[in-house]
């Protein structure tokens, strides 16, 4: 069964001066154990689709189904807390929390005590191939790659089956980008995650299992 299904999803943005139809009748399915790429030009609606899949909003028309349950009917906060993890292009780490504390955060949301959460956080950080010396650093003291890895560790700490990454390599150099995507792919294959990556970097597509292309608000399999 698909972990995430989009049925005839439509979504538009309205501003004072104009309305933009970002998604026009998007249909697709996503399964666990695979890493998906959604590519397209800037402004094609990729990030919008990701946001809908992340439960940050609900579509104007159609449905986003997580394990068959529409996001319209579920508690979106709970969905984001328990079922989906998001990795952002600009990392979005808490600036005043150390790397470990950032990774501890979602575990604390689930009621895990800080000491236990810290132990697990350190493990997660090691699992994303970071050294112990990054544990107590603030995000501003880490490089872009290190910050993104911490963000991935945080996403792992959320212990969900679905991971969404919005341009995770956008601010990274090409080698680091490849390393990050490799890590994500490994997670998908080894830990049975469904990982959906929005990117405009075509050079990373060879590491993806499935590639979708977003064109004028419509998603097609590439």
């Amino acid at each position: 069964m698909s972990i995430l299904t989009l049925n005839s999803v439509r979504y538009s943005y309205s501003s004072k001066y104009h309305t933009v139809e970002a998604l026009k009748d998007v249909n697709c399915e996503f399964e666990q154990g695979l890493i998906y790429a959604i590519v397209g030009k800037s402004g094609s609606g990729k990030s919008t689709m990701l946001s809908l899949m992340a439960g940050l909003d609900v579509p104007d028309k159609g449905d986003v189904l997580f394990r068959g349950v529409s996001t319209r009917t579920m508690d979106l906060d709970s969905y984001r807390r328990n079922d989906v993890a998001i990795i952002y292009q600009n990392f979005r780490l808490f600036p005043l929390l150390t790397a470990v504390e950032n990774v501890m955060y979602p575990m604390e949301l689930h009621g895990i005590r800080p000491r236990e959460a810290k132990k697990r956080a350190e493990e997660y950080i090691r699992s994303v191939e970071l050294n112990d010396n990054v544990f107590n650093r603030f995000p501003s003291m880490l490089s872009g790659g290190e910050q993104q890895r911490v963000a991935i560790a945080r996403a792992l700490a959320m212990d969900t089956s679905l991971m969404l990454a919005d341009e995770p390599t956008g601010n990274l150099d090409s080698q680091t980008a490849r390393n990050i995507i490799e890590l994500l792919a490994r997670l998908a294959h080894e830990r049975n995650y469904c990982i959906i990556v929005v990117t405009h970097d075509m050079e990373l597509l060879d590491m993806m299992d499935v590639t979708y292309q977003m064109k004028d608000g419509i998603l097609v399999k590439a």
Partner: protein, 1036 residues
Amino acid sequence: MIFRNSVKSILRTPIKTVSFAFLIAAVTAFLYLGINTWVASVSMLRDCEENYTTIVTIEYLEDYGSKMGSKSESMLADIAAIDFDAIASNENVILWQPSDVGMGSAANVIYNDYKSDYSDSCVFIVTGIRQFSSDSQYYCKLVESLYSIRDYEPGRTVFIENNFEEEFGFVPDPDAVYVILAQNSRTTANGLSVEITPFYSWIAQEAGVDCTKIEKIQKIDSAEALHAEEDNIYLKIAKFYEAMNNSLMICRAREIDDIEEFNQGYLKPVSGRLFTREEADSGAKVCVISQSLANTHNLNVGDTLTIRLSDDENATMYAWGDKMSRQEDLTIVGIVNHHTDYHRNVYTTPVTDSARPVRFLYDLGQATIRNGTAEEFLSAIKPLLPERTFIAVYDQGYQATADALKVIRNAAISLSVIAFAVTITVLSFFAYMFTDKQREAIEIMRCFGAKKNETRLYLIIGASLTSLVAVAAGILTGTMCAEEVIKYAYEFVSELQVVDMRYSDGFRGIVKEFNPVMTMSAVFALIVGVAVQLIAVSLCLYYAEKTINGKLISARARVRVRKPPKKSSVALSGALRHAVLYIRRGGIRSLLVPSLCAAAMVFVSLLQSTLTSYYAAKESLYESTDLTGYCAQMNGKFSDRLVINNTHAIKLTSMEHISDIKYTYTLNYGYLGIVRHADGSEGQVDPMPMPGDPYELEIMNDTLAAQPNIIFTDEARSAPEFLFADFHADFMPGWDEARFSSREWEILPCIVSSQFMNDKGIKPGDTIRVYVKDYFIGFLNFISMDMMVVGSFSRVANQNNIYCPLPLGALDPERSTLNDLPKKYHYITTGRYLKAATNYPMATSFSLDMFTKQQILDIILDNKYVSSLTFKIRDPRVLGEVKDMLEREGFSGPTLANDIRVCVVIEDAQYNETLSSIEQRSKYLEMLYPVLIVLVCILGLITGFLAIHSRREDVALMRGMGTQKWRIFATLFIEQLMLLFFGVLAAAVIFSTMGNMAQLASPAVYAFFVCYALSVALSIMMQNAKKAFSILSEKE
């Protein structure tokens, strides 16, 4: 192109441009108004200085009795000891004018003032005194009128109202010529009918003339023979009457405009002018007279008035036998309006430069002083003056006006400084924002090879145009409002400074209207506008340089790196954990909120405690102040010779809030002797004087009027005699002051001066007898009073006064012993005791024995007048109410006549000044207080909002990770609340240091706390209410 692009950059950011333009216009207007108000108030103060004249008059409080114009030895000694040169040379004195007032008369000026003291008196030479029949009136022919206020031609028939045989014991010889002293009480009638009466004058008595020995009718050989006698008494009497009735007061002054009656507006020129200072200094023979004098004697400006003066150059009053042979010819330069008190005055130039008053009644002189220096001047001269001095200050309202203007000036200076600082800040911010926001544009221009000058121009043009328009708008707005602002400020401050001067000893005379003239200067406005524009352009240039040189860009690029912790924290859990973590790692942000909170709390508490201190100071002033009031002469001078009707006295004494009332009645007495000694043995008393005829009675009454007084009072030590000295009394065993003051006496007790006791051989316990004028039933000559001497006192007055307690019913008819009379008298109220007495059912013969001593005294005093009255107002809070009551009842104030011509003065000047100072400050703070509280609240609301607004990324992140809304709220709210509590703790420490922990209990100090917390809560709720998507999508 540069110009076009620069203008486009302004027009395409309309909100920012308009906001800044508005802000610059506002601060420019503010600055202009501040400076303009400052300049205008300084100019108005200068006008004020020129518009007002302050004078200080000094008067000696003499104990002259009925001899108005007489001066006692002690008065002369006191005045001789005054250093007038020191007063004249005081640094604050512009001009010292010693009193120079002397009696004079003018040739051909006969003052037909039928209110003069001797207007009825006449001295005639008559002949042919006869009767038509034995029971008809006598008549005669007038040979010559030696003196009469009206002209009578010789040969005129004169009717005489006397019965010669009965009154004089002889029948006049119709063929003889007589000189008669008479009273013509119908001077306005066509007929001439006189009553022969004796002559009495204290002036003659003091000159050694025994008036009792002057015959009222004297046979003479002829009119010529009488005139041939140079020292003839009747000629002297005629001269005396002429001098007294035709007297003018010759007042000499150097600066006539400053003299009180002119300074206070009582007298104003109706034609001609006042003589100038130059004329006075040069000794010009000019004068100013009253309209009534001019009209009566057909005098005009330019005419010559010849005045006759006493032979004695130093004489103030007419001396007996004075020939008044000195003359001065004065040219009339001005005529002033008629005024009851001054219509006999002739104002002329001085003849001496001395600082000492040469000719004076009781006014010693007056000083024209620099405006606003009254307190300083009074402090300097009071040690030079004796206690018995009355000083009055008349400033025409200068102090009140100047104080208001000074408040405005000082406020304008402060506001100008603040406005300048705000203007600089706003312009700096404006310049920074306009240039900083253009940095990308500058980078692009430089990339395309634009020169530095061109980029400079690009930055300056737009900003300068914006500031120019804004400054112009600000100046225009300021000039439109400037006049109104000053007018409103002046009215507002004047109102706040209004002090109730009714009935006040601080009353400073008339208030001259002051209409400040404000001329708006376009040049001044232009200067301010240009200055602001120059500052704006300079700042724009400064920041433009920094932007062009890249310094601004690099400054923004610097990132502050925090020091990392040694290890990640596992302390606490949940929302509290993250709240504490953010506080610990918040840096400046974690210090800012507690600091603001503590500062706001301390600020508000300072405001409150300042206000509280003002209230406390006011309460302390109320508690520590007892106000004294007294009845006085109409000019506000204290007097113990007032004529206060009992009805008016009762009105005053029965007023609410008035207490400690002390009043006196005075009766002139003649001493008769000791009736009975203390051991019971008989003493020796003279018989009561029994005048043989009404004329003798009249002389006796006149003589009695110059004698000392029995002073009836409820407290001897508060009597006017002891106003300037301490009261020392010794009482015989069994008596003390309290017993002596008690009204419940059976035998009237008294205390006499120790001097009197020694002179008359009186011992304590002796009963003495005196006689007084009959105020009991009105048809006895005199009434005797026996009183027991129970003590003695050290005399302060110039005569031997006797002090007695009041009867029960004095000003208290309810307690009058007359109420004990068997028959009820409905009209036993104040002023009606005489009627009650005469209506008392009695036997055919009326006898004083029918009444007790209390009753007799009740009646006597009820038919007299209260001579002095003092009181206290124990609670100054009710002062306004008391003044309202006084006004409603019709009592007069100093120089302000009302229905009742009894002047009441309350010594509240000092109190008013202190209270006014406290009240003004508290009023200003009371007005500012709510505004400042609101500002503190606004600060709290804004900082709370900004605190959460700066955390919206964290909120977005938490929402993105599915954090519950309550947890987001709890995390942020707990964090901010803890910061606020740290601020409260800091404030508590400060309060503790100041010893003012009670402030923590005041709700107002938590204004910032509450508003900040409220704003934080609302802001978090607003963030939580947004969609997570929109938060994450927000651009910076």
